[in-house]
Each structure stands twice: as C-alpha cells, then as structure tokens.
Symmetry: D2
Subunit: 337 residues, 4 copies
C-alpha cells in the first residue's frame, strides 16, 4: 500500500487518476492539489466521482507527504515544481512534456520555452523502458498521440525494417483539455472532421526520438479532431526498406514483441482496431498489417488518450516502480458499445 498525491487535479488527466486510483488495491490518495479549486469537493469538477470524500487543497510541495506523486500540471509548470516534489522523497510521475526529452534543445525548440531544470526523467513507456522505469525516481509520462504512434511502429523500427512512417491520427476532443476553446466548441466539432497542426504538432519529435532510437526511420505526423470524446486511432502508413517482407512476417514480429505485454493486444485474422474496444481502458489494440500493391504497409492502433495515453499509463508506471502486479487497478475492459 502506497500513499499517493496528485498535483494539479482539476483537469481531465487528474480526473482519470482519481477514477483509477480510487479502485486501486495498493494505493490510497492522500492529497489532491489545485490552487484555484482550493477547498472544493472533487465532484464539483469531476461529476462522476461522488462521495469520495476528496477535496482539492492548495498545498505547496513541502506540504505533501506521499510515496508517489503524480504531476498533472501543464508543461512549463511541471519543470518548476518537479524538483521540489522529488525533494520530499517521493517518486514522481510527470504527465507533462517537460521530462520526456533526451535532448533539451529539441524540447526548447518545439515548446518555445527555456527548460530550467537539469533533471532527467525516464520516458515512461513500459513496453520500451520497463527496466529503467523499475529503478526511476522521475518518469516523463508519454504524450497521448506519442503512445499510439510508437506502439504501432516500435517493433518494425526495432527490426530495422522501416524507412518511413506517416502517422495519420484521429483524436477525441478530451485531448484538448478541460478548458473550452473555439476549437472544442461543440458546433465546430459535431458532425465534422478538423485536421490541425498538420506538419508541426509538438508530439512529432517525441515519436521521432523513441522510434529513431532503434533505426533510421523518417517520421511524419498529422492529427485530426473527430467528433469523439476519448480515444486516438492512428493509421500508420509505413514504407519498408526491403521489398520481400510479407504481411505474415510483420504480424509475427508484432506478436513476438508484445506477447508478454499486459496491455498491448495484437489483433489477428485481419481484425482492425476501433476506438470503442479500448474506451476507458488501459489497453492498446494493434492490427491490420496489410500491404498494398504500391508497397505501403498499414498498421492501425487504438488507445484511450486519457488512459493508456495518460493517466492509466502513469498508474502502470507506478505499479512497475512499486513492484505491484502491473495490472493492479487497470483491469477494466473497454466500454463497447
């Protein structure tokens, strides 16, 4: 049993952490902070979580006493607070972009701000970095698009077979956060499809960093807002560096890579992932593996952006760091239909 604190619990990833952790057999939430919601009951912001007894408190890092602290703070804010959180002796899982980059210059270029901390986080994708996560004090929990993209491409890059991957992602609107904006205004989304930042989304370098660590693969990424609450479906259009690879061989590579992974399901028999199968769950579904007559390989992944793409993955990291059963608190299936 560990004591857990959530710093910045007023957004969607904070809400998901609460939703998951209240049913976690090994963790207890001892603190949830929010400056602006100080003193307010959690259900006023997260209306699905009633009678939890939880109340937001405006606490500074040194007032926290927890074994694990989740920082659900925005990028820029995290780098200012994480060093102090670590000072408390807790292990920290940061859900912002601040501790995901091996090269700070890349971060500074894409986020347009100066990085003020020289701490290094472990990139918190268990399927690639499990051993480092076990020993880590600070996790940079991956971005939502990043998780869906990497899981669809990692085995292929590791096998050295990929020349180029084009990730065409369709995301639910919760990925834009809890604050209303013009682009999340219902009449702009309902019955509509909206591509955005088609060549310059800041999740691109994260995908490049992780997939490029295994082989020299060129990465392109274009996100689209679709009229969906949650979930990211990624269509990975891949080009191989060899001509004679078959669908069956690709499928085999993925099955082998993921066969012991608790949360990655490789679909067989031509099954194609869809968002509803993973809605609300920590599972990633990966399927398709078809090659067309121009040599393009298609691989499709589906995740819930707030769970496997954020808070569920963060809890998975906690489980690994604490030596718990990796599936503890994360056994819920997708909510289909």
């Amino acid at each position: 049993m560990v004591d857990v604190a959530i710093v910045g619990g007023s957004g969607y990833t904070g809400g998901e952490l609460i939703r998951i952790l209240l049913n976690h057999p090994e963790a207890e939430i001892v603190d949830i902070t929010s400056r602006k919601l100080d003193g307010q009951e959690v259900h006023k912001t997260h209306p699905h979580i009633r009678d939890s007894g939880l109340v937001f408190k405006n606490k500074s890092p040194d007032e926290l006493d927890a074994d694990i602290i989740f920082a659900a703070t925005p990028h820029g804010a995290s780098m200012k607070i994480v060093p102090d959180l670590l000072e408390t002796g807790a292990k920290v899982i940061d859900l912002s972009g601040d501790y995901r980059f091996t090269d700070i210059e890349v971060y500074e270029k894409w986020y347009g701000i100066k990085h003020t901390s020289d701490l290094k986080g472990v990139f918190g994708l268990p399927e690639i970095h499990r051993e480092e996560i076990k020993k880590a004090n600070l996790i940079g929990n991956p971005g939502c698009f990043v998780t869906g993209a990497i899981l669809s491409g990692y085995p292929l890059s590791k096998a050295g077979l990929a020349d180029r991957m084009i990730f065409d992602s369709k995301t639910g609107v919760s990925g834009a956060g809890i604050s209303p904006t013009t682009s999340t205004h219902y009449p702009n989304i309902g019955d509509n499809v909206n591509p955005y930042k088609p060549t310059a989304h800041r999740h691109t370098p994260e995908i490049q960093q992780e997939l490029g660590a295994f082989s020299d693969v060129k990465v392109s990424f274009t996100p689209h807002l679709v009229p969906v609450n949650r979930g990211i479906l990624t269509t990975n259009h891949c080009f191989l560096n060899k001509d004679d690879v078959t669908s069956e061989e690709i499928l085999e590579i993925y099955q082998k890579e993921y066969k012991d992974e608790p949360f990655v399901k490789v679909l067989e028999d031509g099954e194609i992932p869809r968002l509803s199968s993973v809605r609300g769950s920590n599972y990633a579904h990966i399927g398709c593996f078809e090659i067309d007559n121009t040599g393009r390989l298609v691989i499709v992944s589906a995740i819930d952006n707030l769970v496997k793409g954020a808070s569920g993955q963060a809890v998975h990291n906690m489980n690994i760091m604490c030596g718990f059963d990796e599936k503890a608190g994360l056994t819920m299936f997708g909510l289909h239909p």
Copy 2:
C-alpha cells in the same frame, strides 16, 4: 429588390442571414456590421461562405442605407440601437428578445435588465401575426424554443381545448451561440444529454404570452442540450379541458389551422417529426397527436433553431413586409440525412 443590412453579423444568426440572403432573388446585402471584426472578410468567421465579397464593417446606424435592417445583436444591445436604425427610415427586424414582449415588466423580470425604449415591436410569428407583420416597421423576431413550442400548441389553445402544456425541448448546441463556454465544450456534450434551467428559462414567458392570448392555458417548459448541431425537437405533453376529444379531431384542428401556411407541415398517419427532416430549412414539422390512457395528448414539433427559429423566420418576415412571395429565398428542403 431591396437593400438589406445586417447589424452584428459575427454570430450564428448573422451567418444564417448571409447564407440565406445571398441566394434570395429579391434582396441584396449592402452592409454587414461588426465592431470587433471590422475589415475582416466574412469567410474568416463563416467559413462556408467564400467568395461573397462581403466584409464586416464597423458602422454606426446613421451610416447605414438599407430598406430592411436585421439586428442580430444580443438582448440589451438591440434596445439601444434599434431606435436609431428605425430613424434611418429602414424597417427593422430584431432577432433579440428586446421587442417581443407586450408587457415590459415581464421582460424586465425575466431578463433582469431595465428596458430603455418604448417602441413596440410586432411579434414576428407569421402563423399568428401575419396581418400585423405586413404593416409593421419593427419586428421582434421570436426565440427559437418559442417558435417550436408555439407552433405545437397554438391551434389547440386557439380552439380553447387546452388546460396545460408541458414543453420538453431538446436543442442543438448552436442555440447557445458562437462563443465557447463550459456548457458547449465538446466533451461535456458529446454522447451526453444535459437538461438546464429546467423551470426558469427565459423563453417561458414568451410562450405563455402567445399561447395565453387565446385561452387560459398553463405553460411549463424545460430545455435539454443534446449532441446535435442544429434543431429543436419539442415534445408537447398537453392536458385538455374536455374528456371526449379524439386524436382525429386534434389532427383535423391542426390541419385546418395550418393548411395554407407555406412553412408548417402537419404530418399524418402517425408520422413523428425528427430533426433531420428540417435541418437547414425553414420548415416546421408537427405530428404525433396521440392520446394515452391517462388523457395526456402528445404533439411533437421539429424546427431548425437557426432557420425557422431565427434567421429563416426573419427573412420570412421580410418577405411579408415587402410583399414578396413568402417562400422567396426559403425554398431549400431539410438536409436529411
């Protein structure tokens, strides 16, 4: 051919006026005003209307020279500007609530503001007030919920048969306007249903005013936001003041009342209105006319909130005021599916 100006063209009702009027055979848009969008091309705000040559201008009333002026300004703002608009010699159709009330005290109570103008508008529902509209200089164009509710109940109230009507309305989100708010944030609406102001929506007294003019009927109203862009479906649960009225007699009353109306379609054979049939059109569909074993009569109406519930009805009023064919510019069918 008339010259038309739109004051306050940056919202959804402004956009709909432009969409309709650009295809109107008898009207030409000579001015569209917006303070904050001064100098901006219309398609930057209304992306569906390209190459119209229209540009927002920050003009004061005395700079306008038009035969008909549509005031698509918010309540409170309209009452300040409409007197000046009338001064220009134009006929004015105001889409706000400011000129809809026969009793100013009712307005002041429900809107919570002082009314500063003593001009009287004609309530712009052609199905009830056609003759007055013909001679009017100032129209108070009805509210969207109001239009759907009144059309579903008017023949019954006129026949003196109704004791009570409960309007349970389901509205698309465009009714909340073009500005993003928490209640229009996609993740709060998608795959969801949200009742709001269940006993105190300010459209209630407007419905009461119009239906109560014919007989002593008690009016209740509850709106619900549903994951729909446009349209209001109103389920009118009626209680009659007589026991022996049949479904067939009710249907006959409605058919007789509306038989010459160009935009009201009374559905027969038990057909039930649905939003898609009127989407984007100026038609109102009215149907159901069933009585259950407790004596409750159900009548259902469907309109597009931005067309028959706002801008289309405004153009209909213009057609009547100018002696045009009532259907001019309004012949488009609903967009089903």
Copy 3:
C-alpha cells in the same frame, strides 16, 4: 465464490455481464451460451473483451452447472427456458420482461403474446424489493426505462404526494439491441432526435405497476432516441396532490429514502444529472427538484441503460442473493468525459 452461467450471451446485455463479471471478486463465468455463435470466441462479438478464454457454446439448460444463471434472452424466449434453468438448482436472474409482472394479463396485453409459465419472479429493483430479492430463486430484472423512471418517482409516490408523473426519457441507441435496423442506422440517428412509441411503449405498465403500488399516481411515458451510445436521462414532470410542498421538502424525502443505497446518488445544490457522469457505471444520479410557477415539479434521473438499467443491476441482484458485498464487481465510476 459462485459459478455463473450466461444464457444468450451474444447481445449487449450479455457483453456487459461478461465485462462486469470478469472483474467480479466472487464470481466465475463457467458457461456462456449462444446457439448461433457456438464455438466462437467471445471477442469476435464483443471486441473489447480479449484474451478471456471464453467461448460461446450451444448448450441446453440441463447441460449447465452453475450457482447463478443470467438469462439474457429476449422476452418470449425466456419464459420457455427459465423453468428448465431453475430445474438445474441454480438461482435465475432473467433480464427479459417475462417475469416482471405481477399481473400476467397486463404482460399479455402489452407484449401481445401468451404467457406459458406460472412461475413468479421477484421484481429485481433492490431499492424497493431488497428483502424479497434476498430470498428469491427467480428475479425479473427491470427494464432500462423502468429503472430510471421508478428511481426518479418512487420516494414521491411512497410519500403519497404525487398525482401524476410524465416521464420524458432520452435514451442511447444501445437500448435497441445489437441487431441493426432502420431506426438504429447511423444516418437516421446522428445529429438527430427521434421520439418513438410516444404513448404506447411497453415499459409503461412496468412503471405503473411499481409506482402505483404505493399510491394512486397516474403515469405517462414517452421515449426519445438521441445520438448517444448508452444512457437514459429521464425528465420526470410531476404534479403533486398538495399545494404547499417545497423543493426543500422534496429533496429531503429523496435524501432520506436513498441515504443507505449504494448506487443511488441524490444530487444537492440544484445539481442536475447528466449521462456522462454514470456512463459505464451502476450508479443512478437523481437531481433537480425544482418547482415552477404552475406547480410542476421536475426531477431528473440519469442511468447507464446497459448497467444500472440491465446487467449491472442483475449483478447487484446476484450480490444480494448470494450475501456478497452489494458493491462487489460494481465499484467502477462513470466514464466522464
């Protein structure tokens, strides 16, 4: 620990039973039957449930060996099979309409078929029938609309305060089942609202039976299909038989009635239920309690039609029948957003 069988597992309620029971600490699924899917893995039909090891089998009742059997069979089919299921010595929870009625003639009139079994089920709404459920061998699990409607009206009827209730319900499309029809065809539902069976839905007499058992309240019911996957939001327009009752008194009656109920949450401070707060969970949210100036009281309830309105409630009944913690397997919160 009990052994559980699901008869007729190919539909949505079957899928939900599997989803819930696979995470239930006291139950193990030993059999899932389906005639047409015999031999097929469960994930081919319920794509969110992978690696469960479950396979549909075409088994007759006498081949089943379970402590609890859920009959997720359609009405008409259940009455033919339930007697045989009871013969096996199992306790049976039937999700169809066949065993919900105290008066068989009412059933036969509304369902239009002859009832062939003289077994009596206990109406499986724990909030009203908990003590009978504890001792029951056969449960008639309530209909989805019925659950939402009754929970919104029961305390008021029990207090003898209600003269009339009009239930205006908005339902997700999963309530229509897993088989495609014209009325569930996406282009007929998306961006649309469709009332149906406005005065003659067969859930009406079930609501009347349960609410009418406490006082003489007249019940009306109209359902609407809205573009939502799951959930039923019910707006209960009530008329009281006394003039001087206040909102606060009504709220107090509900709080008192439901204060020990694990799955009913009475919302305070004018909070209004919405579907997203209960999505995927077994909770019912009840709120509003406003009275308008005509004396109409509005009470709103929200449930997930497949969970509290079907399979979750069935598991709740199992927990009560088996003496388990009532919340076992049902602790998941709603999936908002």
Copy 4:
C-alpha cells in the same frame, strides 16, 4: 427547361437528386422509379421532401420520356439498364461504378463481376473532363472518395511533380447507403472511428486511373468511417519527385488550375478545410499545402459525399451537357454549423 427522370430513387443519392432538382430553375422531374416502392409517396422514404407531389413508379426504360435520365442504381444493375435508357433518346448520367473505367478488366477485377455492356462513359469530373462532358451521351459519375482524392491531387500530378500520394480519408456514414448493416449500426459508429478495407477499397483504381493519366504517380488509399452523417475529408500525404519545391509554389499551382472552377475553392493563408463548410453543398474546399521536415507535403480536401461526391456533381454534369449555367440549382452554401 429539360425533363428529367431518376431511375432508382429510393436511396440517398436518389433523395439528393430530388432535393436539388426540385429547386433547379431549368429542370423538371417527370419520373422517379423504384420497383419496391411503386406507388409510394416520396416523403415516406425521404421525409424531408414533403408536398412535392412526387410518387415512385415501377417503370421500365421504354416507359420513360425524359431529356436527361439519372441512373441511381447499384453497380451491376446499371450496366443492365443503361443501354435501354440510352435507347429512349435521353442522355444518361450513371451514378454507379459501371461506366467509370477506361479499362474494363480493371473494373472486372475490382468489382468481381463480368461487364456486359461495351458502351463507354465519359468520366464525369468536370474539372478534368469538361469538354468531353459537353458532348457526351453517357456519363460515369465519379465515386465519392474518388472526387475528394482526385481534386486534392490532380494539379500536382498534372504538373508532373508527384511521386506518390497516400489518401487517408474520413467519411460520413451516409456513404454506406440507406440500408442498415452491422457497420452502420449507431452503437458501432457513435463516439468511434472505424478504418475499413485499408488497402483494397474499390475506389482505389478509379483514383489511379485519373491521376495516373497525367504522370506516373503511385496511389494508396485508406478509408475510415467516422461519426458523421455526410462528408469526406481527405488528407493527401504527398511525396514529390523534386526536392526544391516550396509550399508557395504548390499553392500557386492549385490556384491557377482551379481559378475558373465554380465549385472548387482553394484556401489560402494556411486555412484547412473542414467538413462543416461544405455540408449539403456542391463545393470542394482544398487547403493546407504544408511541407514537413521529412519532405512530406500535406493537402486536405473536403466535400459532401452525397453532393459533390454524387448527386450534386451529377447535376453539374447535366448543366454542362445541357448548356445551362454550371451553377444552376447548385448555389446553396455549406451548412455550417
């Protein structure tokens, strides 16, 4: 003024033809045929089109007397009836795939049926084949995906600059037709994204035929069903055969190519098309023109699949064939929001 007949008017493309043609200034619908709906009023199937006086009739080709006949029949059926329709002396616009292919073997391979007619249709995309359309008696009206894809890629292929184009398309569900199926069942689509036929959709060879006529460009295509009624948004990921081409040059090529086209709007200033801007209209919006740091060029197109992707384009073809103003009957703007 021309007399028009619609053969097979019971589906969505039939409904759209009626919707458009009833407001066409130069055309009159003299016949609508349907075998199965013989004698039924049109509004029973197309509920938005009331009081048109139109009734489906089961007529054979030789009973038709029209100047223009639209065949809204499925592939396979069209090839059997079109020769007889031409025999009547009418010009024929076929909306199926039967007369779109220059190479019958390609058709037979992708559609899996033998082609029984040796008539050749003109590929009815006015932006490429206007001069041939003017003189044609038989038009093979393009597929919906095809129209969106070609318009996004044609200027580039014509300029000889493209090596490869990957069309990732997101389509509304009306593209699947009016008949309910498992894949159009609301709970399988709502709040979901479903890729299908990711490398083998039969619109692929049509795209290849038209784009490959200008230069040697490799074409890949993957469609996705999204929770939208109408519209196809296509993200064209292009790879150029030259390194030094700029975004600005690409934009200029598109502006020049489409500058006189009445229905193609090239968006500037980085504007990105979205479905709502073209909903219900015959416009195609094309925009983006960004190049990422791997050399991938992104071009996005948006059309309404039932209008520019089917019936609107068919009417455009009629206008060209008859020498009418090309915009006649097609002046409606998109329905945003």
